[in-house]
Symmetry: C2
């Protein structure tokens, strides 16, 4: 059997499409609920796997995701490549210079935030392995080392996303968290590589345990020194002489997969090699943002969802759910991490509130914990019950850490004007040619005939005082109402342009009427800032002025805003 | 056996990396020799497969690319997905509105260029199947239909690339060729789908032959009408409400793979469904260029090389090479195509020279022929000898058609100033602060001490007549020499800027000395145009002025030029 049959090809295509489709849909849903996408992706696998679909409709589950035979082998091949490439991208996000710039705070929080949970968890696992459901056959030292590592890591991607959402990324607290998380990631994977080498699955290389560990250490040193130096010289050559971006894409993937093959061969799993190559590659100043992005987009949106969904397929989460174990793991992880981070942040002279924010931020385990857990499960270090508990711990810490940080820092999320607008508040073609008429036209869609005068009256009197044209073809008239608690935003487009007395003299083509509660003085400024941020780009305004529906309007905002962020 | 073992994972990663790496390297080499990348990619497979490596070092070939067992199955899974996604992208390149705009010329050339080779080849295959090495067990009708189709198609991607290289893409001839090739592609795949349905590999659906054909036709009609209409409505919604670009990426791939699963199920191969979905998707005006590009980059540079290299692994090209058969196939393909295209182009009132250019352009078979041949080989319609002959025919027609077109149109390829420069002609830091000194400094690197006076003299006297600053921080002094036959270009960078009397008053930071043969008056203008085209973008000039080596200089040109083309 060296080829897939016609029937198996149908099966493989169908299962890939269903798995990827479900993972993307639930991932988007999670994002909508302001949760990391990985939560939805994993849930997709749980739904399609033995936990739900396997119970409700075993035949469908068995046809789509067989556990034996050629389709299963091919799917396993895909997930191996998916996880390898995902770790390549994760490695690329590790910015060594960020750690170096903030080395004192990063090392103190990084080390404190690792050592305390590591020691606590190691001690529990060493003295009471049965409490954590250790398998009797695996050596206690290996088990305890793994549990220590699993509790000590943080999830860099989740943390970074969270900080950006809370607009804390560029602050002192934010950069410290990032640097410490990067340090944690790096140190955590190295310890885990040693753990894997210790259980001696190094069958194909035939190396002794100590040899595996030695080679691993040499590999890390090589990647962080010589390989980085070489990459800095090779990348300009590739960009100069090979096709763009094919040369860089091909080079990155081929080298990443080769490093993965090497570490798998020495017995410390493929993902470690890909991760270390990613670190060396991502650090080169010659890596262009657009290369990073193309690799990142394809892998984050295609390979990562496939992988995390496939994790959900692996075990029956219902059957192996053990509430006691989940609570113990959750407590051990959270208490150790918080204690370590808060204490070391206080020692690094962060104020108390910020120290707690750092603790909550670092507590997110996210994708990394799930990967670590799966590898340990596959290597036989832990059983299905503990695997399920670790996955749940990763999800719970990731889901809570954002709101806890927000609460302790008293931060509010960014206000976006389109969150208060909608299809019924959108006028694709304003009839008016005069600014006061235009305000009335928009006031009508906000308040109907009954309240048009109140709204338009307020806006018009302000408009008379000071024209609300902010230039660049945009005007933002404003009304205040006593009896509303949430802002209402109406958007109108004028094909001919209406003079709103802007400084630059341009007539307004996009008119955004902000109706805000009289009780909240701040929200108007926030809305105005959000309009200004979007309309800074002339091309975006041009595109917005040509749309025909609210959906298209949103599409432009969504796409252009994403493009603006990435440059 | 439902999982890959540790050892098999090492093997899979290694073979993927080696295959992709070799395909990319030889693909780049082919590009360097101004040949389609697919030629190098296929050659990579031939080198690593039974033809070369299997002969020289059978053990390595067997370890890397086993034909039995789990690794082989997983690799087959990868190539199935790779070819499916490649056809998705190929479909996206089919622009129905281009055909419609030039419908008269396109249909006449498209139909003439298909019918004549189809009928000729069909006749030969029907009356003398043994001449083409038909397998006795396959029905002659199916065989003759396949041969007809195989001779009648054209390779859209190769043709488009060639036209761009020759700067013919936007001309009348160019657009007619594109439109006709699109029409050929579409019609060819439909006939082939019918051929596949006829041999009744439709095992999993259990449909009769006529039912398969009916469902195929309905599927095509559905994709070109209702699906296109639906996509036009769904895409803005996805862009408005899902993450960017993940929503579009995920949607395109999931739907493409689902359509592939459907057509594989009805018995006409997965690639057909992906292709048709690509056609419907690529036609939507809501598909953003950046989505198209992200999908395209990853697939063209990763999946396509993997697939074409894997084709080379399939058979022993040396053993199954049959010179007689190759020549017959080549003659049949070329004569039929040229006859059909030239006659119908003349009928559509193209001048003789342009009619021949159309004929030569349409003669390129490229990737499509190879895919068609492989599918027919896998389905048992043709044997290994004919498969090898078809592949060679595809390569030969693709390699020759560019130069034949160039010859018949008397076109020269674009002149690029950096083709005549090099590391020894590059001065990263000019010492001069005066324009005449700077010219001498560059003249020295061109001619050495012996000829510095001749070069500098010519350039300086021209410079005195008219300052060579072209604005934007760039200057292009120029010298003519009697005794050279090729231009020489020296590039210097001034950190402080040197006044070259530009209209905009900006000092020049990049000084490009053009030394051209006195006998060729035109080349100076071409070089100047090439400088101007690159330096139009202020950001590019800024980047160029900061590089420290020729390699970095080339890297900026290569990357920025590619970025400029894509917007």
């Amino acid at each position: 059997m060296g080829q897939l049959s016609h029937h198996e090809i149908v099966q493989l295509l169908l299962s890939l499409a269903v798995l990827l489709g479900a993972a993307r849909i639930l991932g988007e849903l999670a994002r909508r609920l302001r949760q990391p996408a990985v939560i939805g992706e994993l849930l997709a696998g749980v739904m399609l796997g033995p936990t739900v679909l396997g119970k409700l409709w075993p035949a469908a589950n068995a046809t789509l995701f067989p556990t034996e035979g050629a389709v299963s082998v091919a799917m396993h091949g895909f997930t191996v490549i998916a996880i390898t490439l995902f770790l390549l991208v994760a490695g690329m996000e590790v910015d060594l210079s960020t750690i170096w710039k903030r080395r004192i705070a990063a090392f103190s929080v990084g080390i404190g935030g690792m050592v305390v949970p590591f020691v606590m968890a190691f001690a529990v696992a060493w003295f009471a392995p049965s409490l954590l459901g250790a398998k009797s056959e695996s050596p206690t030292l290996v088990f305890a080392l793994f549990i220590g590592t699993a509790m000590a890591i943080s999830a860099l991607p989740v943390v970074a996303k969270m900080l950006m959402d809370l607009q804390l990324f560029r602050t002192d607290v934010g950069m410290t968290i990032i640097a410490a998380a990067v340090f944690n990631d790096l140190a955590g994977w190295m310890i885990f590589a040693v753990v894997l080498a210790m259980i001696g699955q190094a069958s194909s290389s035939g190396l002794e345990v100590w040899q595996s560990i030695l080679v691993t250490v040499l590999f890390v040193v090589f990647m962080l020194t010589i390989a980085r130096w070489l990459l800095d010289r090779v990348l300009p050559w590739i960009q100069a002489h090979l096709s763009w971006p094919g040369g860089m894409l091909g080079f990155s993937l081929v080298m990443g997969i080769l490093c993965a093959a090497f570490t798998e061969w020495i017995g410390v799993h493929a993902v470690f090699g890909a991760f270390m190559f990613g670190v060396a590659l991502g650090d080169s100043r010659h890596l262009r943002a657009s290369t990073r992005e193309t690799i990142d987009q394809f892998i984050s949106f295609i390979f990562a969802p496939l992988f995390f969904a496939s994790v959900g397929l692996r075990v029956n989460f219902f059957e192996h759910f053990d509430l006691g174990l989940v609570l113990i793991v959750l407590a051990l992880a959270t208490v150790g991490k918080l204690l370590g981070c808060v204490l070391s942040a206080r020692m690094a002279r962060f104020p108390r509130r910020e120290a707690w924010a750092i603790g909550f931020g670092m507590n997110a385990r996210g994708a990394m914990e799930i990967i670590l857990g799966l590898l340990a499960f596959e290597a036989g270090i832990i059983d299905a019950r503990l695997f399920v508990a670790l996955v749940i711990m990763a999800l719970v810490t990731s889901m809570t850490s954002g709101s806890l940080m927000q609460w302790v820092m008293g931060r509010t999320e960014q206000v976006r004007f389109w969150a208060f607008a909608g299809p019924k508040l959108f006028v694709p073609r304003l009839d008016s040619t005069d600014r006061f008429d235009a305000i009335r036209e928009l006031a009508r869609v906000v308040g109907g005939e009954s309240r048009i005068d109140a709204i338009a009256g307020s806006a018009v009197s302000r408009e008379r005082l000071l024209g609300s044209g902010i230039g660049g073809g945009v005007a933002v008239p404003h009304a205040r109402l006593e009896d509303i608690t949430e802002p209402i935003v109406a958007v109108g487009i004028s094909r001919v342009g209406i003079d709103f007395d802007a400084r630059d003299g341009h007539p307004a083509r996009i008119i955004i009427l902000l109706v805000t509660p009289a009780s909240d003085a701040r929200v108007q400024l926030q809305l105005l800032a959000s309009v200004a941020a979007v309309c800074r780009d002339a091309q975006t305004v041009e595109r917005l002025a040509l749309v025909g529906s609210w959906t298209e309007f949103l599409a432009v905002l969504n796409v252009d805003a994403a493009a603006a962020r990435s440059t």
